[in-house]
């Protein structure tokens, strides 16, 4: 197929009568009505974010017991191409309620997530066996101090305070 260009007397006449410009103007005026406005008035109006959006990280808690879902398996740290997740584990003794015995288990001691290097690829949430680390729909990640880019366990669970913009 050949993309055609037209060169003939019709075009010459339409050029003389400014038809080429008028036709374009008609199109632009068609979209002038305020009801055809496409701009989202952020921050007054929040955009609708896709459900699978990969935004700010969150470390989920068990909704019933309130304990962290993370089992300190370190898979997310291994899966991260940027090596920015640091999982610290500790072995603690705990009372197993079913058998009534004292058992040893790995617990999460600390979790550090450096958002300044994160590229939100989603590999960490993909490998997590307990759905503990999750990338949420939150997208406002701007922070004033550079050290605050390293999100601690607490920030990951509760989120960061973002200023709320009103008029």
């Amino acid at each position: 197929m050949v993309a055609h260009r037209r060169r003939n007397w019709k075009q010459a006449i339409s050029r003389f009568l400014l038809l080429d410009l008028i036709k374009g103007m008609i199109v632009t005026f068609k979209w002038q009505a305020p009801s055809k406005c496409y701009t989202v008035q952020y921050p007054k109006v929040r955009p609708r974010i896709g459900e699978r959006f990969r935004g700010a990280p969150r470390l989920n808690r068990d909704p019933e017991t309130g304990e962290s879902l993370c089992i300190a398996c370190n898979l997310c740290a291994v899966a991260c191409p940027e090596n920015l997740i640091t999982v610290t584990e500790e072995v603690r003794e705990y009372l197993d309620e079913a058998s009534g015995k004292v058992k040893k288990k790995r617990f999460l001691a600390d979790y550090l997530y450096d958002t300044s290097r994160c590229m939100f690829c989603g590999y960490c949430q993909d490998v997590c066996p307990t759905y503990a680390i999750e990338l949420t729909q939150e997208f406002e990640l701007a922070i004033y101090r550079r050290k605050d880019f390293a999100w601690t366990w607490e920030m990951l669970e509760n989120g960061i305070d973002q200023p709320v913009y009103t008029r």
Binding site: A3, G24, P81
Partner: protein
Amino acid sequence: MYQRDLGATEKGSPGIREMVLNMGPQHPATHGVLRIILKLDGETVVDLDCDIGYLHRGVEKICENRPYTHIEPYFDRLDYVAGVSNNLAYIEAVEKLAGIEVPPRAQYIRVILTELQRIASHLLWLGTHAMDIGAVTIFLYAFREREEVLNIFENYFGARLTTNALRIGGLFYDTYPGFEEQVRAFCRIFPERLNEYETILNENRIWLGRTVGVGVLTAEEAKDLSVTGPVLRGSGVKWDIRKAFPYEVYDELDWEVPVGENGDTYDRYLVRMEEMRQSRHIILQALDRLPQGPILGKVPKMIRPPAGEVYHSIESPKGELGVYLVSNGTSFPERLRIRPPSQINLQALRKMAIGHMVADVIALIGSIDIVLGEVDR
């Protein structure tokens, strides 16, 4: 060597003084950080040289220090307005090297996604190219339609530009509920919108004056410079990797390769507009034939391709995007080399621009459709 020649001011024939002018790296029309050293006679370009590398990140070296499964997100950042196409080039190269089969459903969805990406990339090109020349309205219209595609991407894999959409052996996610309707709805409104763009531009006297006959590249010159993609097809060479070496399911679909005649900026514009129509045609066919089934083939847990090498190329929106991979049998690639279409197409700028005005250089940069993330890597 060439650059040194440009730096020296020569004494020309009496009355002619040539001037060396830097355009960029911080120039809004260079689409990133491209520096062009122009040698001017009045306002006519006598010679030019491109200085690249301001956005160099060493992607190839980074990739050599990552296992195969971790490399894909770095490819999003090459041509950052066409993430899915970049992902596809890398993923297919690894699949070819490791001999991994992809189930048909995943192949069809890949085709749909890359064609949507082609439309989004061409719309961005159209908007910025038209704005460089002075038609700001088109920029707003093109971005409005591009937004629809990006919304589909956001719903599908959770990112708009840095998509990280695919996975070795198939896809990350299956389609979301309502995917097909959303894509079809976009395909329904799209031809009408394309017609609107063409109403505004195709016969507009300013547009014609700025594009017709500017930057002519004959078919022979285009082949000699090994340019690919719409720049090559605008010169009348019918060459498309999707037809020449079909990957995924392109050989089962029915579509045509648009070509231009004269190889000027206007023809490259027409070719890209027609390509968007063909992409829509491909998407609709692929949606009709979309089979059910798994989206992930049989993939070993650790991807350790046998020692060897592979070159695989796809037709990205900008041209032939090739990935050359050398494996030494471990889970890290020995060498990874990217053939970026933008960089090689940029070599044609000198041939196109000599003899034209400075303002035409801006139109020509837009016409080649470069993305500096890919040129510099």
